[in-house]
């Protein structure tokens, strides 16, 4: 009998695993379990073009419904995995079904951190931005003249701020750290994004601490800061990070540590169980990291699928990310972990790149309306070739020329 792979999660990582598995093994039996009722859809576009109405629901499907049928992939919607019996190799679903598996892929993603309910987090008009339901609710809230307070100046918060401001909403972003995107980017990138938002009328306040979300008749009416000031709001977006969905894996006794711990082949502490995407903590530079991106989910899903078919494929993709805010396309190549130096490249017009270095060697680049530097940085990182700070700093330096030299 054909081997049965059960994939828990039908977002980018889960669908990538299913697609690659089918491509590699025409006979594999594949079941994908989706927690959502909606047909599997692309996530990044939700906080960007979908919010602004530029992308309709039917254009953001990850795969058309016919794809599942044509590829004999059994998609079970509106149910979650409740328990895994690793000894029996079965997974129980919230629908009451029990599925036997030869291989199990956990692509369970992550959930947005909620603002504490006892401090106003459960009031009406308080939103997170993660799934289709969130995006649809926010679309309704974003009406010209209304006031939005965004809690958290990370990429999700800034994208929501950008879409709202484009619709004529008055937006204030509150960031607890002394600068926005501090966790993931250099000061120069914070400065650039701050100026971009301020130029479009968004108020950015950094180093502010929130006491509570104030409510009236059960609805949010403002955000109270420590010190007593209240920033008025008609609705609130909470963008304070996400937590990996590890509950089922943890109850099954799998190794957990900021995500489901996997090896470089995406195997968990049980060799029949894999984890991919936002929920997976994978080896990187002697430690373990977790990445929250489409690239990571897609590529890890494909690696897990290859290994299920008996390959020994190691995950070693160059990470990349993107964010669209106002008329600015930010593309990020590589990981800047441990950077100690930044080189700012200003091109023509709004073109700009911030190159990150550690111990004099190139690590990553934040590219603003600069797809050439982005593409070349990805190519460079893929190639393994070392670019030094000294080389990059020379006058007339061109990444493209360096790559072909």
């Amino acid at each position: 009998m054909a081997r049965h792979t059960v994939i828990v999660g039908a977002s980018h990582g889960g669908i990538a695993a299913a697609a690659r598995l089918r491509a590699l093994d025409p006979l594999a039996q594949i079941t994908v379990v989706s927690a959502e009722d909606a047909h599997p859809y692309q996530r990044p576009v939700l906080s960007k073009a979908y919010l602004s109405g530029k992308a309709a629901l039917e254009t953001i499907a990850l795969r058309p419904a016919s794809w599942f049928a044509e590829n004999s992939i059994n998609l079970l919607r509106g149910m979650t995995a409740t328990t895994i019996d690793r000894a029996a190799q079965t997974v129980s679903l919230s629908s009451g079904q029990n599925l036997s598996y030869d291989a199990l892929v956990l692509a369970t993603g992550a959930s947005p951190r909620q603002f504490p309910a006892d401090r106003g987090g459960a009031l009406k008009g308080v939103h997170t931005m993660r799934d289709l339901g969130d995006a649809d609710r926010l679309k309704h809230e974003m009406v010209e003249g209304r006031r939005l307070v965004v809690i958290g100046g990370g990429y999700i918060g800034l994208e929501a701020a950008s879409e709202a401001a484009k619709k004529g909403v008055q937006v204030t972003v509150l960031e607890a750290a002394d600068r926005i995107v501090k966790r993931v980017a250099a000061r120069q990138t914070s400065d650039h994004l701050r100026a971009l938002h301020q130029g479009h009328g968004v108020t950015i306040r950094e180093g502010v601490h929130i006491d509570r979300i104030a409510g009236s008749n059960g609805s949010a009416v403002g955000v109270e800061l420590e010190g007593g000031e209240t920033v008025p709001a008609d609705f609130v977006v909470v963008g304070i990070g996400i937590s990996p969905n590890t509950h089922v894996a943890e109850n099954a006794g799998l190794s957990i540590g900021n995500g489901v711990v996997v090896d470089s082949c995406m195997r968990t502490s049980d060799p029949c169980v894999y984890a991919v995407g936002d929920c997976a903590s994978f080896p990187y530079e002697g430690g373990h990291i977790r990445l929250e991106s489409v690239q990571n989910a897609n590529d890890q899903g494909a690696v897990a699928a290859a290994n299920i078919t008996g390959q020994e494929l190691v995950y070693r993709s160059t990470p990349w990310f993107w964010s669209d805010q106002f008329d600015m396309k930010l593309q990020i190549a590589g990981l800047n972990t441990g950077y100690d130096d930044i080189l700012v490249q200003s091109g023509t017009g709004s073109t700009r790149a911030h190159l990150y270095f550690r111990d004099g060697a190139f690590l990553a680049a934040d590219c603003f309306n600069d797809p050439v530097t982005f593409a070349m940085s990805r190519k460079l990182l893929d190639s393994g070739k070392v670019l030094t700070r000294e080389q990059a700093g020379q006058s007339g330096f061109s990444l493209k020329a360096f790559l072909t030299s």
Partner: protein
């Protein structure tokens, strides 16, 4: 209005479909299960996974890549040629009725 689009796949199979005007060729390829056209970034010019070659006879009508697209074509898996386009940047119109695309090996 619809235009007939044909994809020649790396494995030798051929997919043809009637595609509505105004749709981009990445969405059209995904909707028609064209293996090899992925569209990882949803068509925002960030991933270069919807790379196709335009059939020689159609290059004039399909047009040339824009600046951003041209840069992104540097990181496609299959080599960039004078026929390379990113599907998400080609919008279907009556002028493209009959268009033939070659999908690179994925």
């Amino acid at each position: 209005m619809m235009a007939k689009i044909t994809w020649n796949l790396a494995n030798g199979s051929i997919i043809s479909a009637e595609v509505a005007d105004g749709m981009n060729l990445m969405n059209a390829a995904v909707a028609n299960n064209v293996a090899g056209v992925v569209g990882e970034c949803g068509g925002c010019l960030s991933c270069a996974t919807c790379h196709v070659y335009v059939d020689e006879d159609w290059t004039d009508r399909a047009g040339k890549p824009g600046d951003i697209e041209d840069a992104m074509l540097e990181i496609t898996e299959a080599p960039k040629t004078e026929f390379s386009r990113l599907s998400c940047q080609v919008i279907v119109s009556p002028a493209l009725d009959g268009l033939v695309l070659i999908v690179p090996q994925g």
